[in-house]
């Protein structure tokens, strides 16, 4: 399990707590893309905003979806929250993002080393892979592990004025998500488009 990896000295934090800390910092209608499962459940539980997008499938696509939003709206800050298992499905997207280098994109990897929602099985990378090192090697040079909650908040703030995309790795515990997203994809998408200023409600 990743939490036993001796190479790491980062604090084990909590997904809901970190997500709440992020949301509390958002004052400019920033977009937040929540990856499949617990990642978007905790985003939902942290307080629904029209600028939140919740994935109900398509595991691994939180960063690509966020990249699309970031390209479409270069003046808006876009955050993406993704689990370690999800990111392992789409490691190639890190290189794509590094190549396009949108400066308005901040990615957060919630790493507990397990597929919590399916029964806490360890991911194939849990014992050996360092996702932040993979991100750096993919060309995302502004990538780092958050040492603790204060460091996470500092890295989030730093990313808001960064000259390129930022990736923040956080080690988290094995707790499930706090809430459950309402599984209504059309309403989620429509509300998000209202939140992005693309559409007016009917």
């Amino acid at each position: 399990m990743s939490n036993d990896n001796p190479a790491r000295n980062t604090k084990v934090m909590n997904r809901f707590d970190l997500t709440s800390r992020l949301i509390a910092k958002l004052k400019h209608e920033e977009a937040v893309i929540g990856g499949i499962g617990n990642t978007n459940f905790d985003l939902w539980a942290a307080g629904h905003r029209p600028q939140n997008f919740y994935m109900l499938g398509s595991m691994g696509l939180a960063f690509p979806i966020a990249l699309g939003v970031a390209l479409a709206q270069p003046d808006r800050r876009v955050f993406a929250l993704e689990g370690d298992g999800s990111l392992l499905m789409q490691l190639g997207s890190l290189s794509t993002i590094a190549t396009l280098a949108p400066k308005n994109l901040t990615m957060v990897v919630m790493d507990n080393g397990i597929y919590q929602i399916t029964g806490a099985q360890p991911t194939p990378g849990a014992a050996v892979a360092d996702l932040v090192a993979i991100a750096v090697a993919s060309g995302l040079t502004h990538s780092s592990w958050a040492a603790d909650e204060d460091d996470f908040e500092r890295l989030i703030e730093e990313s808001m004025s960064a000259v390129g995309p930022t990736l923040i790795g956080v080690r988290i515990d094995d707790k499930p998500g706090i809430g459950t997203t309402r599984r209504d994809p059309v309403q989620i998408r429509e509300r998000f488009m209202h939140g992005m200023g693309v559409r007016e409600p009917l």
Binding site: S58, V69, L71, G92, S95, R189, G197
Partner: protein, 184 residues
């Protein structure tokens, strides 16, 4: 160089299948075109890169491209994805869990391999999965075989995808593009 030739003779390019795609994308304000490349798509990809109107780039996987254009659509930017038949075969999950249920007007151009002179058995097998997948999801799809119908099919399909908020697959037959033939 092929690109330079096409740039100096825009009329010829416009009457080719790839010229029609490029011009029809432009007319419909589609600026973002991620792709996983295919030999047949090469002239289209080259001309998209050469035209500053477009933001076009390679992705590592086709579903990554679908994620990107879904986000772009929700952010107010129109897009289309280019791929090959075998790439389409990797998309069933993202079509069923993102594009269709979230009502994303995903516009896909699929260069058809696996038929009309295919030399790789795996390509011909994977090609046979494409239309059953599209039909099982009740997705709009057209196979373009003739240049004289092509602009109509592309333009109307783009407009229908956007207005009905539903994905569409435009399959580019070797009858239209010439396809890829055994050369080595």
């Amino acid at each position: 160089m092929a690109v330079a030739e096409e740039k100096t003779s825009p009329q010829t390019a416009e009457k080719s299948w790839h010229g029609i795609v490029l011009q029809t994308l432009k007319r419909n304000d589609i600026r973002l075109v991620p792709y996983v490349p295919d030999r047949v798509l090469t002239p289209l990809i080259k001309n998209l890169h050469a035209d500053p109107y477009f933001t076009t780039f390679a992705t590592a996987r086709e579903e990554e491209a679908v994620g990107i254009v879904s986000g772009a659509w929700m952010g107010g930017m129109r897009s289309a994805v280019l791929m090959q038949t075998s790439g389409f075969a990797t998309l069933a999950n993202v079509l069923a869990s993102l594009a269709i249920p979230y009502q994303i007007p995903l516009i896909m151009f699929v260069s058809e391999r696996g038929t009309l002179g295919e030399f790789n058995y795996g390509q011909s097998l994977v090609c046979r999965t494409m239309r059953p997948v599209l039909d099982s999801l009740a997705m709009e799809h057209h196979t373009a075989t003739r240049l004289d119908e092509f602009e109509f099919i592309v333009d109307r399909s783009i407009k229908q995808a956007l207005t009905t908020q539903a994905p569409v697959a435009l399959i580019l037959s070797p009858l239209l593009t010439g396809g890829k033939v055994f050369d080595k």
